[in-house]
Amino acid sequence: MNEDDAGDAEQPAGATRATLEWADGRTLSVEPQPDEPVLDAAERADAGLPYGCRHGACGTCTARLLDGDPESLDHRRPPRALKPRHLDAGYVLLCVAEARSDCRLRVGSDVLAETRPAPWRDAGDG
């Protein structure tokens, strides 16, 4: 998953489907166009997802790929807010992520918090 990985350049005509799932069970399907960040498609659908920098630096838009091929999303700019351990665990940055095939994503502000657990706490360190 990086911006140089242009392997599946030939997209099926039209959009892919990204299903957004919140912690409270709410879901919403959005249809990002090719070359359109998932965040932009979610905004068109009034999903109200959190975001900040919109260029892959801040992590506010962090989501987690629930299923779908790990190749189903490509970052159009380096996802600087994510470390290798986050990328390995399927975290993505929706402001710079383009969908290559259908996928399901955990979204909402709690997803970023998962990637940076409270340090030094006895419980819940992970």
């Binding site: 900040g52 260029h55 630096a57 030094w120």
Partner: protein
């Protein structure tokens, strides 16, 4: 309370217009003049934010009524909403302050309000101080064009120019730098030579000494998502101060504060323009460093060490986390917040290199009372953080949010319940402070949902922005 109690232009206190220093510019001739001539603050501007939560609303500048004679005392009476979501409003500053006291025609009237995450810079016109309005927006691309991002501290500099510390490059990586904006709120470009520094955070200049000192947080991509111990081990957080030649805009000296000086954040010179003394709070190491010139060179030494404390939920002693500090306008007292512990401390700095502890107040945090203003009042679910002091030094106010992603780690309830603004009454004569249990501004009850609250400013200047030539 209405605007009619303010002077017509709404940009100066009545006193400024009357005072007789033969100048037409904003502010006060000396720090002592600010104390004598200012009126007790009646209005506060406070950063309010939703970025990083699921509230689908933009951040805002809150107008808070702090006039004890008003029926709306302690209420948010107006909110200037930003045109976009996701800014993370954080710090802000005036277009002009006492450093331009002798520049005719300039007014302390426009607030520059950067979005820390968005890199968008808003200009708010406070001509009507209870009804400020968004006047201009500098879009992120205009900032990225200069290979800068993540605007933080705004200081006006003499002659109407404005300088903003920028913590990253256009990718949110290092190096940062400084952005210069003119008095028409047009981006002029980069102030410093590219590559002069790596990390950046806060800065303060002391023009008569031809010096500026800047501090270090980390690359935006490092601190934006949250605190990470891995980054401490990797040396990704700052621990240095840069001492600049103010006129040349070049670094003359780098002071490495070492292990005990990790995360040096807010920088405060004493207000007297002849002083070279000042302080910086090293948040992570929880030490306050004193700096001063000594034989033509600046030196910094640890002056206050906050002891880490054992806490049942922590597997290592909890640091205080000194996240903000300020110096009273008369340069007699230093106040700082221990955001994790939950206390605000007051030190006598009449001997600046040797601060003397005089008093403190506990409110929230991990060791202070959860209902500091009374059991019937709402819980305080963060710790004391951004401070602001009245010009006369008798009222200290603070808010409780540090930064959305860091709040989530250390005070996860704050996003759901919102911040508060609290106040202590200070007795400078006797070196005492006491929590005002009658005062609590609740950001939990905002129209779109609970909001965080960050930096505080007064319309007529304050202890963390006014500088004298």
């Amino acid at each position: 309370m209405s605007d009619t109690q303010q002077p017509g232009s709404g940009t100066h206190g009545d006193s400024h217009a009357d005072h007789d220093h033969g100048a037409e510019g904003p502010g006060y001739e000396t720090p002592q003049a600010a104390i004598e001539e200012s009126e007790p603050e009646k209005t506060a501007y406070v950063m309010g934010l939703y970025t990083g939560t699921d509230v689908d609303a933009p951040d805002f500048v809150a107008v808070v009524d702090i006039d004890p004679d008003s029926g709306d005392y302690g209420e948010v009476v107006d909110r200037v909403e930003m045109p976009n979501r996701g800014d993370e409003l954080h710090h802000f500053g005036w277009n002009a302050c006492s450093s331009s006291c002798h520049v005719g025609g300039l007014e302390r009237r426009h607030l520059l309000v950067p979005g820390q995450r968005s890199s968008r810079i808003h200009v708010i016109d406070t001509a009507e101080r209870r009804r400020p309005e968004l006047a201009e927006v500098i879009e992120p691309d205009e900032v990225f064009d200069h290979d800068l991002s993540a605007p933080h501290t705004v200081h006006c500099i003499p002659d109407g120019e404005i300088l903003i510390s920028m913590l990253g490059d256009a990718d949110g990586d290092l190096p940062g730098g400084f952005l210069s904006v003119n008095d028409e709120f047009e981006v002029q470009g980069r102030w410093d030579p590219p590559g002069e520094i790596e990390m950046n955070y806060d800065f303060w200049y002391q023009p008569r000494q031809n010096v500026m000192i800047s501090s270090e947080w980390a690359a935006p991509k490092t601190y934006y998502p949250g605190f990470d111990l891995e980054d401490v081990e990797a040396g990704n957080y700052g621990q240095r101060l840069q001492v600049w030649d103010w006129e040349d805009g070049t670094v003359e000296q780098t002071l490495d504060l070492g292990e005990e000086g990790q995360l040096p954040l807010e920088v405060r010179f004493l207000h007297s323009p002849v002083s070279t003394h000042g302080y910086v709070g090293a948040a992570l190491s929880s030490n306050v460093f004193h700096f001063a010139e000594d034989g033509g060179r600046y030196r910094a030494e640890k002056a206050i060490d906050v002891e880490a404390r054992e806490h049942d939920d922590w597997d290592m002693p909890m640091p205080g986390l000194v996240t903000d500090l300020l110096v009273s306008m008369d340069d007699r007292y230093l106040f700082f917040s221990n955001w994790l512990h939950g206390d605000v401390r007051m030190y006598d700095v009449s001997d600046p290199a040797n601060p003397r502890f005089v008093d403190r107040v506990w409110a929230g945090g991990h060791f202070g009372p959860r209902h500091p203003t009374g059991e019937d009042d709402r819980a305080v679910v963060g710790g004391p953080q951004m401070l602001q002091l009245s010009l006369d030094g008798e009222r200290l106010y603070w808010t409780t949010s540090l930064f959305s992603s860091w709040d989530e780690q250390f005070y996860p309830e704050e996003g759901d319940r919102g911040s508060v603004m609290l106040k202590a009454d200070v007795d400078p004569r006797h070196g005492q402070m006491e929590l005002d249990e009658e005062f609590l501004v609740d950001f939990g009850g905002m129209p779109h949902g609970p909001a965080r609250a960050h930096e505080i400013r007064w319309p007529d200047g304050d202890c963390t922005s006014d500088v004298w030539q």
